[in-house]
Amino acid sequence: MSLGIMFKILRRHALMPALVLFQTALACAILCNVLFLVWQRVQPMVAPSGVAEDELVLIDQMASHVRPWTAAEVRAGELALSHVPGVRSASAALGLPMIGTTIVDYTLQSPHGAKVGVNGYFGVGLVHTLGVDLVAGRDFLPEEYRDFGVSEHSSSLPATSTAEPLIITQSLARQLFGNQPAVGKIVDVPDEPDGHGYMVVGVVRHLMRNQLTLATDGRADDTVLTAKRIGDTSMLSFAVRIDPAMREVALRGIRATIKSQFGDQLVQDFPVKISTYAERRHDALASARAALWLFAGVTLAVIVVTAIGIMGLTGFWVQRRTRHIGIQRALGARRSQVLRYFMLENLLVAGGGVVIGMALAYVANGMLMHYYELPHLPWNYLPIGGALVLLLGQLAVLGPAMRAAEVPPVVATRAV
């Protein structure tokens, strides 16, 4: 049967196909946007962290309300922690992976003017303590570290007149310098007009940022390490690398050390958080997981509702045309031809719906983007969502179409 006749039939009984069209269009628009939102949430979950996940213990929320911790106390704590049995190294740090409560925010600018917003981690020996993989250049030298604290004049080093050293990730190196080697290059920080910029001394393979909501669209690795030593501060945190075989011993030792070193000054009702990287990751991604469950529910509901709708409507459509089908069969149409006819018809109607739906998805995303902080829906989500809906339509129509194919030719001779 030619497409022309098919169109004619569809036009003559426009209500049913129109409703199927409307449903597929809506389903397609919703699915495209939901898929996109799902991917936004999934990306931080699948991005490589770049750190030694099994060996990392993170300590934060060490608040002192009496007076800030002094640089000497911080040093002493670092030293004490690194002597705990089972601990390989410990660094006082500002900004740590998977902890979004303290964020160091930088804007880097390459010599060509490319700007990237990054998160920074401060602390002595973080390359070793976090266990990041250095692929080019070197780690910071001990004499390169400068104190960073509330009163920066406590720094024992004079303010440098040259660029400060900086370690960046491979992804950042690509974004800032393209294919050229990054080591030895200078990047600017427009927020620090008095500074002399930063010189890249090392490149690490991966290091995930701690602003997880921004860890999407290739920005997960937008992280830098700077040569800063934690000076006097009122909020202290540590990264500790342990021997995974001695985890329990090390954790117990760490708790005891924190208590003995800092206990009498800690705010009582504000407990220090000492937990493994895995636990921190679990907590940090909790809201993303909840959102994923929600989106999974929405997707499932949309699929079920659309499938039921298409099945119901096509079923009725087939029933109405039982007699036509009988006549066709009596005139020599094969079962497979009848089956194919209904499948094709659904493809045609759903195809129209999908085209409208893709346009609708795009418009809806544009509107949402205008009002809320939402990235642009990339083009490639549209065909994915569309294909999904077409497949759904074909599966849903299979039942009614098979029933249509079972109609015996003899029906043509009977009155319905």
Binding site: T107, S234, Q268, D269, A301, V305, I308, G312
Partner: protein, 443 residues
């Protein structure tokens, strides 16, 4: 009409399977929409009904500072200035141009009760002046609030709320007891009812939503500073201010660290007050040559809340998602209805042939659709409550507000009814167009 209603009811029972399917579909759509809308409704509700319409945040920018970048590439907004310096607050308080006015700042700090074995705690309390309690309508269970004279004298007095009294002293009968804050000893002169407007609009910088967090006590601002408790956070400090003691505290004399709220009865008074603020700003000799001329601002609660974007984007986004899902469910049900109405073509034909007007057929079928959707509404009620319960399980700081109040309960059924009418319109119209003659002939 009653006959049409009856027919509609019979129609429902004729195809129980498709009726159940339609009811369940509508219920799912309604429940999803109502869950998100109920949360949105709670989050956008007026924080202080009856009062918030004449409360304004007053702001004058007298901080002499280097201009800072407004927004980083990481989406962290630095420029959310709304607080003023204590010095300005005291000048404004002295002039007393509004009905009520008070500077304020929420402070998270440690405190303890009196006695040999004091109970300790740390939580938010509000540093403010005498007019805060009457201005925002904090009700007192016993005792009194403090007076402007006590503000002047830096009197160490405090008003705590009843829940804090119970947790710290074991009783609400605490008037005259001692309350230790910083290195000061404060006397409790009043016990208030817990005061937790949603959101915490008068100081959004410390926290926004949540039943768990609230300002548990009210302390005179100057006495709190005298006791060595620092205010947390500021909107910028003078360039020549001394170095802060810690990263997170600020000196209110040099830093903009208090919010200044005023109560003004009408718009005319409000514009007078704004003019006064601007005059005050123009007279600041110290600002001459500082190089910035940001005008004074007076922002009402509703404008303030929308400007600060307190409702999380996710909540609105989910409401849109749920709304479009409801639309899909409606399209689905419209299809189911069309199918079942047209199956009945023969009867409709007979009814028409016997003299029923098109209007009656239309009415019968719209009623049937509305009934299905109202049934869906009943089913959606437990589903909505379930959805809100799962929302409350998630800890996002604001989700404990996810409850269904009477207004939203009514809205659920109103929505169900509207959905029924809209959904039924097209199928019912199609059914009413059926030609009587043709159907009778073929039947």
């Amino acid at each position: 009409m009653r006959y049409n209603l009856m027919l509609a009811w019979h129609g429902l029972k004729r195809f129980p399977r498709s009726t159940v399917l339609a009811v369940v579909t509508v219920a799912m759509g309604l429940a999803a929409t109502m869950t998100t809308l109920a949360l949105l409704h709670q989050l956008t509700a007026d924080p202080l009904p009856g009062r918030s319409s004449h409360l304004y945040l007053a702001w004058v920018d007298t901080v002499r500072a280097k201009p800072t970048q407004n927004q980083s590439l990481n989406g962290i907004t630095v420029d959310q200035r709304h607080r003023i310096k204590l010095r300005d607050a005291e000048e404004l308080l002295h002039d007393h141009r509004a009905t009520w006015q008070a500077p304020m700042a929420s402070v998270f700090t440690q405190f303890k009760s009196d006695g040999d074995k004091p109970r300790k705690g740390s939580d938010y309390l509000l540093a403010t002046t005498s007019e805060f309690l009457p201005m925002l309508g904090v009700s007192l269970r016993s005792g009194r609030s403090w007076t402007p004279a006590e503000d002047q004298a830096h009197a160490p007095v405090v008003v705590i709320d009843s829940e804090m009294a119970v947790s710290l002293y074991g009783t609400t009968d605490v008037l005259g007891r001692e309350f230790h804050l910083g290195h000061g000893v404060f006397r409790i002169i009043g016990v208030s009812a817990p005061f937790a407007p949603q959101p915490h609009f008068y100081d959004l910088a410390s926290f926004t939503f949540g039943n768990l967090r609230r300002d548990q006590a009210f302390v005179p601002l100057r006495s709190l500073l005298d006791a060595g408790v620092d205010l947390a956070g500021d909107d910028g400090c003078d360039v020549d201010s001394p170095k802060p003691k810690t990263l997170f505290t600020s000196d209110p004399m040099y830093c903009a660290s208090v919010s200044y709220w005023v109560d003004l009865p009408d718009r005319a008074k409000a514009s007078d007050f704004l003019a006064y603020l601007q005059r005050y700003l123009d007279n600041q000799q110290a600002l001459v040559g500082a190089g910035h001329a940001r005008p004074a601002q007076l922002t009402r609660v509703d404008a303030w809340l929308s400007q600060q974007n307190v409702v999380p984007d996710n909540v609105r986004l989910n409401a849109w998602l749920a709304g479009s899902f409801l639309l899909l469910c409606m399209a689905n049900v419209a299809g189911l209805l069309a199918a079942r109405f047209l199956r009945r073509s023969a009867e409709i034909g007979i009814r028409r042939a016997l003299g029923a007007p098109q209007r009656a057929i239309f009415q019968q079928h719209v009623f049937e659709a509305a009934m299905i959707c109202l049934l869906g509404g009943f089913l959606a009620l437990p589903l909505t409550l379930f959805g809100l319960w799962t929302l409350r399980l998630q800890d996002s700081g604001f989700t404990d507000l996810a409850t269904l109040d009477p207004a939203m309960f009514g809205a659920l059924f109103a929505l169900a009814f509207a959905v029924g009418i809209i959904t039924g319109w097209l199928p019912a119209w199609r059914a009413s167009r059926i030609e009587p003659g043709l159907q009778v002939k073929s039947a």
